[in-house]
């Protein structure tokens, strides 16, 4: 027996490796927090590391003093909650029938869904579609187009297939119809996958700015906070990269401390929610994959 590869040694090595990973992941957050509480001059001089220099909350009072920030923050919360709910409902009613082998044309539909994972219509056709659906500048432009992801449907379908059909048969004998089986038998058994997909979707909606940029051109009151953040962080940067001569107005940038404060404020909720759902998350991922 080679003692070098003993379990104990593995555990030590594993812990060290994990510790490095944790530090690498945690560092940017801690740095942002430190910057957001620091004096902007100290940040510029590169003096801030993990502890704020001349701690103050001016960046936060400035951000929190902007009505736009509140409005877009509320929008984001709304989109995340309602969007996730819509997405879960649609994903369930799409993937449950598909998980049944006896569904007529099921394989064709499945192939069509898989097709969209590799090919998309492109941005402008998508825009035209939403325009003709009269979604542009409405909340639906954010809630509906991303509601069903082919990837999530696949995962959920695989999970549903793992539920023993005997269970459903017995429920049918007891008098439940298809919808009853889905609501009373299948969904209660699928909490893990619902939490997993719910988290996927929620994080995606929370972070997404692109749909709002494209599909809410005139509805600035409906825009999510991610777009607000993006303009603060990338406003001048992308102007410069575009290659036109800047005028003195465009050459101004938002101080780094305010950028950091915005980032911190926007990351907090998702950081709080994440660990609570994570226990389902790990389980759901595993079950879905094994049975697939």
């Amino acid at each position: 027996m080679n003692r070098v590869f003993s379990y104990k040694n593995f555990r030590v090595l594993n812990s060290i490796l994990m510790l490095i990973l944790v530090i690498a992941t945690l560092f940017p957050f801690l740095y942002m927090i430190a910057v957001s509480f620091s004096d902007y001059r100290a940040v510029g001089r590169g003096e801030v590391f993990l502890i704020p220099v001349n701690p103050n909350i001016t960046s936060y009072t400035q951000i929190l003093g902007m009505s736009k920030f509140y409005m877009s923050y509320l929008n984001t919360i709304f989109y995340t909650i309602v969007g996730t709910a819509i997405s879960l409902v649609l994903t369930i009613i799409c993937s449950y029938p598909l998980s049944k082998k006896h569904l007529l044309g099921g394989t064709v539909i499945l192939k069509l869904i898989v097709f969209t994972m590799f090919f998309s219509g492109g941005l402008i056709p998508n825009f035209l579609l939403l325009r003709d659906l009269d979604f542009i500048n409405k909340i639906w432009a954010i809630l509906i187009p991303g509601a069903i992801s082919a990837y999530n449907v696949m995962i959920m379908k695989t999970f549903f297939q793992g539920i023993p059909s005997a269970l459903e048969d017995s429920a049918r004998i007891d008098g439940l119809n298809d919808i009853g089986i889905l609501v009373w038998i299948v969904i209660p058994l699928s909490k893990a996958i619902l939490a997993t997909i719910g988290l996927f979707v929620a994080v995606w909606i929370w972070n997404d700015w692109f749909m709002a940029l494209i599909y809410l051109p005139k509805a600035e009151n409906l825009r999510p906070v991610s777009l607000f953040l993006r303009n603060i962080v990338y406003g001048a940067y992308n102007q410069i990269r575009a290659g036109n001569v800047l005028d003195s107005k465009d050459a101004n940038t938002v101080p780094e401390t305010i950028q950091a404060a915005t980032i911190v404020l926007i990351s907090i909720p998702i950081i709080i929610v994440y660990p609570r759902i994570q226990k389902y998350f790990a389980k759901g991922m595993m079950i879905g994959s094994i049975k697939g």
Binding site: N231, N238, S248
Partner: protein
């Protein structure tokens, strides 16, 4: 039995489909409900107004609304109660309905709007070359066709000498699709050179007259303060500093590189700028600065906020920056740097080896905008033109630059307008001095918040002709534009990469120059050369 099974299956499929459809139908119904309240078609709503001359003396007798694709700058985010919007409405009866586009993604948003064929009446911050490929869609208004209805603007253009530059913006069909915005009365651009005056005095040095002087000054600074960061640095990537320095070497680079071809006045043709002697000499200068540690090691990547803080901490000696920023630096500089004498001032730009100013080729405006062609179908089209024209009047220039007398500005004893509180950012609170809404800057703005020294300097710069007219434009046809796009991208990217490599010393100017030129030739420079010069000849024979 079999039949029953099939029908059961199809029933399930039908159910699934119906469920899906009803879901969407539900959404549709809802959206119809709130569509009436959230969107209002701007022009249609106001179509009752007549075309007759106005009785009220305002642009329009009845309230009208026009839409604008507006770039929302994160340093002065739009507020609903901005004075500028109310005041424009009060004086013209025109409401500007702004479509707020984040500056971070302005270009992408505009591309999509154009692609979808839905652009607002006015598209701010858009230059002629940015829409030239879309002109064939007919989405844009050839504004020059209506110059007879823009008397204020055309008089202004005649009076201030805009016409040569405007001629350059015209497309191959001889029409102008853009109008200048954020206009100046003088040929002046705030992008210039700043220097730490107190250090110049301390070391007993003179202001630099030539690019060689800049090098010598930096060297002297480096000797005096060996521990400080490099005397010269830069922000906004290499484009910023290259743009400023290139004219001194009679070439174009950085932001100013355009299509990489540079007009040679004597020979009346276009030559490939990066292969010219001037470009080579410029690279030699940059390489010298960089290799001797006089130009910051991070000059091509330094973050803008870090840069500004360094300036205020007294860690920078010579800067390529916007004249006017020195006020901000001087406010915090003395405390941040701990040096009470801290004083940054603009200087007369240095000259290059052949006596060219390190100025810039700039038009007499900083911004540009275009218009949707659908405005000409409005009943209110005349009002629209009147409104555009009004925005160039002295009254509008004063309003959009300085705001209201007594509220945001006052008239000084010498008759000059000046902001009441020089430390306050009126763009943030009032929306004035706005590079989308200020079509023309008030003539006094050039001298606003400037010391006598700076005012004198600006006058000198204008008099000496530091800023030269923009290069003549080659007006390609659509086909030629396609050919151009085959070669231009690779050439530009290669030149960009090689320029940095030459400056950083990764390529040697003595050894690798010929290969650089050969490489340029192999990826399409001769083709571009032929394309541009043929078109240029045809264009001038017309």
């Amino acid at each position: 039995m079999k039949l029953r099974k099939v029908s059961q299956r199809s029933l399930m499929l039908l159910l699934a489909l119906m469920l899906g459809i009803s879901m969407f139908a539900g959404c549709k119904k809802n959206t119809d409900g709130d569509s009436a309240s959230t969107t209002g078609e701007s022009a249609e709503a106001s179509s009752e107004s007549e075309e007759a001359p106005t009785d009220s003396g305002m642009v329009s007798d009845v309230p009208v609304t026009f839409t604008m694709f507006y770039q929302e700058n994160s340093t002065y985010p739009y507020l609903e109660d901005w004075m500028i919007m109310e005041e424009i409405k009060k004086r013209t009866n025109v409401t500007l309905d702004l479509q707020l586009v984040p500056s971070s993604d302005f270009r992408d948003s505009r591309t999509i709007a154009i692609g979808a064929g839905e652009i607002p009446d006015i598209v701010a911050q858009t230059f002629d070359d940015e829409i030239s490929t879309y002109l064939n869609t007919g989405l844009f208004l050839p504004i020059s066709d209506y110059f007879d209805k823009l008397p204020v603007f055309t008089n202004l253009a005649d009076r201030l000498g805009y016409n040569a530059d405007l001629e350059n913006l015209k497309d191959a069909d001889g029409k102008l699709y853009v109008l200048p915005a954020y206009c100046n009365d003088e040929k002046f651009n705030a992008h210039g050179w700043l220097i730490r005056m107190d250090i110049l005095e301390e070391l007993g040095l003179e202001q630099p007259k030539t690019m060689e002087d800049v090098y010598e000054l930096c060297k002297a600074y480096k000797n005096a303060y060996p521990d400080k960061p490099a005397p010269m640095t830069n922000r906004f990537f290499e484009d910023n500093i290259l743009f400023k320095v290139a004219p001194a070497f009679n070439t174009a680079a950085g932001w100013g590189i355009g299509n990489t071809f540079f007009y040679d006045k004597e020979q009346d043709n276009f030559i490939f700028a990066p292969a010219s002697e001037g470009y080579k000499q410029m690279l030699v200068w940059f390489n010298k600065m960089f290799s001797e540690g006089l130009l910051d090691q991070e000059f091509a990547t330094l973050d803008s906020t870090v840069y500004e803080n360094r300036a205020m901490d007294g860690d920078q000696f010579i800067m390529v920056d916007w004249i006017g920023n020195e006020i901000r630096y001087n406010r915090d500089g003395p405390t941040n740097s701990g040096n009470p004498n801290f004083n940054i001032q603009p200087i007369m730009p240095p000259k290059g080896p052949w006596g060219h100013w390190s100025g810039a080729r700039v038009p007499m405006w900083d911004q540009s905008m275009c218009f949707s062609s659908k405005v000409k179908d409005y009943d209110t089209f005349d009002t629209f033109l009147k409104f555009i024209d009004w925005m160039y009047t002295d009254e509008a220039a004063e309003l959009t630059t300085f705001g209201l007398e007594g509220e945001t500005f006052e008239v000084l004893p010498d008759g000059r307008k000046e902001y009441i509180d020089l430390t306050h950012n009126y763009s943030t609170s009032h929306g004035i001095l706005n590079n989308c809404l200020t079509f023309r800057k008030d003539p006094d703005y050039l001298y606003s918040n400037k010391t006598d020294y700076t005012m004198g300097l600006i006058k000198d710069m204008v008099k000496e002709g530091v800023f030269s007219p923009i290069l003549p434009k080659i007006k390609l046809t659509e086909e030629e534009r396609e050919t151009e796009s085959l070669y231009y991208g690779p050439v530009r990217d290669y030149v960009r990469a090689a320029t940095l490599q030459f400056i950083l010393g990764e390529l040697s100017i003595e050894n690798d120059w010929d290969e650089f030129v050969a490489q340029c030739n192999s990826i399409g420079v001769p083709e571009l050369d032929e394309l541009y010069n043929n078109r240029w000849k045809l264009q001038n024979n017309k």
